[in-house]
């Protein structure tokens, strides 16, 4: 157990638009360990921040400025952002 805790690292996640407003912040942090995927990360985010689960705003995940698949592995050195439905134009 101790070892597992020790291995966890803090991941910063950028927020925009409706998600930024919901959290009243342009960044959130979660703990991840090695081999955490985008799919795992989404679950951790919703567990850590129940307000996001409640609001149920759909979002995609961008890793280093590219839309990422659920299977992609995230690292603390990556730039991660949650992308709610875009509405430019």
């Amino acid at each position: 157990m101790y070892k597992e805790e020790f291995m966890k690292q803090s991941l910063s996640i950028k927020l925009f638009a409706s998600l930024r407003q919901a959290m009243n912040s342009d960044e959130i942090k979660i703990d991840i360990d090695d081999n955490t995927t985008v799919s795992d990360m989404k679950k951790i985010i919703l567990e850590t921040f129940p307000i996001l689960k409640k609001l149920n705003i759909p979002f995609l995940v961008a890793v280093n400025h590219k839309y990422a698949l659920d299977s992609a592995v995230v690292n603390t050195s990556d730039e991660i952002a949650l992308i709610p439905p875009v509405s430019g134009g």
Partner: protein, 138 residues
């Protein structure tokens, strides 16, 4: 050429940029701020951007247009910040030898912007302010 700006977009400059002696056609699309959305009266819009990613995706859109159509120049500009009714929020201009390629590439450009570029608009209307639900693109 692509750009994200917080200053007013001068569409004539876009047309000047794309036109050259080898182009027989120039197509310009502009998106402007409407005074309503469905039943709601709108007073202004606020556009937010994820700058680095938006620039990267705009550049990909320009590159893809050049690969898929025989066009000479393409410029795509999106404005951010607070915009008033009637102001230009987005513009795409394309030049080509003949009109077909320019029309098609211009449509591809604006459709792709609306679908993929991480920009969000917030409407300010009579019933308050709200973020617009856009598309989720896989």
């Amino acid at each position: 050429m692509i750009s994200i700006t917080n200053k007013p977009i001068d569409v004539n400059k876009l047309l000047d940029y794309v036109s050259d002696n080898s182009s027989g056609a120039s197509v310009l699309f502009t998106g402007t701020v409407r005074d309503h959305n469905e039943q709601n009266k709108i007073s202004k819009l606020y556009y937010e951007v994820y700058q680095e990613m938006a620039e990267k995706i705009l550049q990909e859109i320009e590159n893809t247009a050049h690969v898929n159509w025989k066009i000479n120049k393409l410029i795509a500009i999106h404005r951010i910040g607070i915009l008033k009714i009637g102001e230009v929020s987005v513009a795409v201009a394309v030049s080509s030898e003949h009109r077909k390629e320019a029309f098609e590439a211009c449509k591809f450009g604006i459709d792709s912007i609306k679908e993929k570029v991480p920009i969000w608009k917030k409407e300010f209307g009579e019933s308050g302010a709200e973020w617009l639900e856009g598309v989720i693109k896989k």
